[in-house]
């Protein structure tokens, strides 16, 4: 029993070390083998070796270096084997044999951070689907197991495993180099990286499916990845922009869920439950955006909007005109009916529900919003404020039918019922 628990303890220590070191090990090995799929397998081999040896022999003084050395040794063996094979093939073909076996590239003085950044860009390569990028990023950079990723996204483990295998194959087939993108490609490629991190965050923040409203572990994972990226790419304002946005949004995690698990919307939240440490960190990140040239990108702008809410001690203190202006800038930069809808909410708060409704009504026919439950939800809210309760009820019911989240559906049906009640009080029949 005692031995068993010691073993288990060693096991958990290996997992903790893996969590801290795995991305670096994969990145360092990928520099040798130039293939992140192979690199990940070699890193996994090193993990297996650690799980076998550390419980018996104790955790080495520098466990990260141990994992890296074992994985690199295996990488070099692999390179030598394939070189020997190539030479054999060449000899068989009566071609001139390779004169000497070249030494595989050995760790040089290039900092590991450069390899980590390469790994980030490859895992988020546009040749992969969004789903594949998310899975691969969590696996290669987050050090999450397939089971953990599956649990976080509420999908079956084999589905995730297959997604990762396919993603690695796609990268190999497309011969994606283990390099950071050329300067002309860089903005688009960085946007892809930021998108993946924010997708992970949002999956945790507003769970699109299932009965749970939020899954904080995914938010924390995305925040960690964002903070890592901020150190790898210190000069790009959109990186601290995204970090600021996530820190501020994450500060509300505790306040977004009511006692029985129901969602609590921003303006109804108990602001004393907001995490002030995360708000301070978010505002500090936003200052870095300003220092790097100002708030001009989509993430910086969204962070600035989130900061308006974070700075307001009560909903009444919210600077809605500023939020409406920021949304206007955002809409010009990334035209989207969803941004327009958010702008309509801000305009409604700043200049009255009628002004907001006029903007929303322009969006009603938009094909992109046909299935989007927040459109009828927002429209219902504005109509209710204008006292048009029958129309509001219809909109809340429509929204309830469209959402895939069970908790949100109940919230919307409650609002529809409230309209019916208010209507009854207004005009008794």
């Amino acid at each position: 029993m005692a031995a068993g628990s010691t073993r288990e303890q060693a096991h958990r220590t290996v997992e903790a070390v893996w969590r801290i070191e795995s991305a670096r090990v994969v990145a360092g090995v990928a520099r040798l083998v130039r293939d992140v799929g192979v690199a990940e397998e070699l890193a996994q081999d090193a993990l297996v070796a650690a799980l076998e040896q550390w419980p018996a022999e104790g955790v080495p003084a520098n466990p990260g270096a141990w994992l890296m050395a074992v994985a690199k040794r295996r990488a070099i063996d692999l390179i030598r084997r394939s070189q020997r094979l190539e030479r054999k093939l060449a000899e068989l073909a009566h071609e001139q044999a390779v004169a000497r076996e070249p030494e595989p590239a050995l760790p040089d003085s290039e900092p590991i951070e450069d390899d980590l950044l390469r790994l980030v860009f490859v895992a988020c390569h546009p040749v992969l689907s969004a789903e594949a990028r998310v899975a691969l990023t969590l696996r290669l950079l987050g050090g999450l197991t397939t089971a953990e990723i599956a649990r976080a996204f509420l999908v079956a483990e084999p589905t995730v495993a297959q997604r990762i295998v396919r993603a690695k194959r796609t990268l190999a087939e497309a011969r994606v180099p283990f390099e950071v993108p050329e300067p002309d490609e860089r903005p688009a490629r960085l946007a892809s990286v930021l998108e993946v991190i924010y997708l992970i965050f949002n999956e945790g923040y507003a769970a699109t499916a299932g009965d749970g409203w939020i899954r904080p572990a995914l938010c924390e994972e995305a925040l960690r990845l964002g903070r890592i990226l901020a150190h790898l790419v210190p000069a790009e304002p959109e990186v601290p922009g995204l970090v600021a946005l996530m820190e501020i949004q994450a500060s509300r995690l505790r306040a977004r869920v009511g006692p029985s698990g129901e969602p609590v919307l921003l303006l109804d939240q108990d602001r004393s439950r907001w995490d002030q440490l995360l708000i301070r960190r978010g505002l500090a990140a936003l200052e870095r955006v300003e220092a790097l040239g100002g708030i001009a990108g989509p993430y910086g702008l969204q962070a600035a909007i989130a900061a308006c809410h974070a700075r307001a001690g009560t909903p009444e203190e919210t600077d809605w005109p500023l939020i409406a202006t920021l949304y206007e800038t955002l809409a010009r930069l990334t035209p989207s009916p969803v941004v327009e809808l958010n702008r309509a909410v801000a305009v409604g708060m700043a200049y009255g529900p009628q002004a907001g409704l006029e903007l929303v009504d322009q969006l009603v026919g938009d094909p992109a919003l046909q299935e989007y439950h927040l459109l009828p939800s927002v429209r219902g809210d504005l109509l209710a404020k204008l006292g048009r309760l029958d129309e509001a009820r219809t909109e809340f019911e429509r929204a309830a039918a469209q959402t895939r989240n069970g908790r949100e559906r109940r919230l919307l049906l409650d609002r529809a019922a409230a309209c019916v009640q208010a209507r009854a009080a207004q005009a008794p029949t």
């Binding site: 958990r12 220590t13 997992e15 903790a16 070390v17 969590r19 801290i20 466990p63 951070e113 572990a217 924390e220 925040l223 960690r224 990845l225 964002g226 903070r227 890592i228 150190h231 108990d270 602001r271 004393s272 439950r273 907001w274 002030q276 440490l277 708000i279 301070r280 960190r281 505002l283 974070a310 700075r311 001690g313």
Partner: protein, 142 residues
């Protein structure tokens, strides 16, 4: 999960950390930050600049530092966000405290403590919890 890594000890009055120790700590801070786990960190001046308020037998006494039991004192802290206690312990293990004690033969202690969320304190009433939340909001000054 949030953990506080406490550095125990007390430098001699007025003693400033030497460049070697500063370098090692900067490197460690960077590792924590680059790993995306560091939320906050501070170091404290030695206890000769400190004061204690001691309550006993119904009265409060003010006692100025320095304090003698160095091992029980806190010299600095890190606040980190990690996935498990083991991960927190692994980070604590990497803290370069050997530079603080050098070859003095002294022991260096790094303590790992989990941060209590208000929700963890089972003896707290709903009203107390709400009051505490409001207070936290006020002290943050935002």
């Amino acid at each position: 999960m949030r953990f506080m890594i406490l550095l125990k000890g007390d430098p001699a009055p007025g003693q400033m950390p030497d460049p070697e120790l500063i370098n090692a700590m900067i490197k460690y801070n960077q590792e924590l930050a680059q790993a995306g786990v560091l939320l906050a960190a501070e170091g404290l001046l030695d206890s000769s600049k400190g004061t204690r308020v001691i309550y006993s037998a119904g009265r409060r006494r003010i006692v100025d530092g320095p304090f003698t039991e160095a091992k029980e004192l806190v010299a600095g802290f890190y606040l980190i966000q990690v996935k498990s206690k083991e991960e927190a312990v692994e980070w604590a293990r990497r803290c370069p405290v050997e530079y603080a004690v050098k070859d003095s033969g002294m022991e260096a202690v790094v303590e790992v403590r989990q941060v209590a969320e208000l929700e963890d304190i089972t003896t707290m009433s709903e009203e107390q919890r709400a009051a505490e939340h409001r207070l936290r909001e006020q002290i943050s000054g935002s």
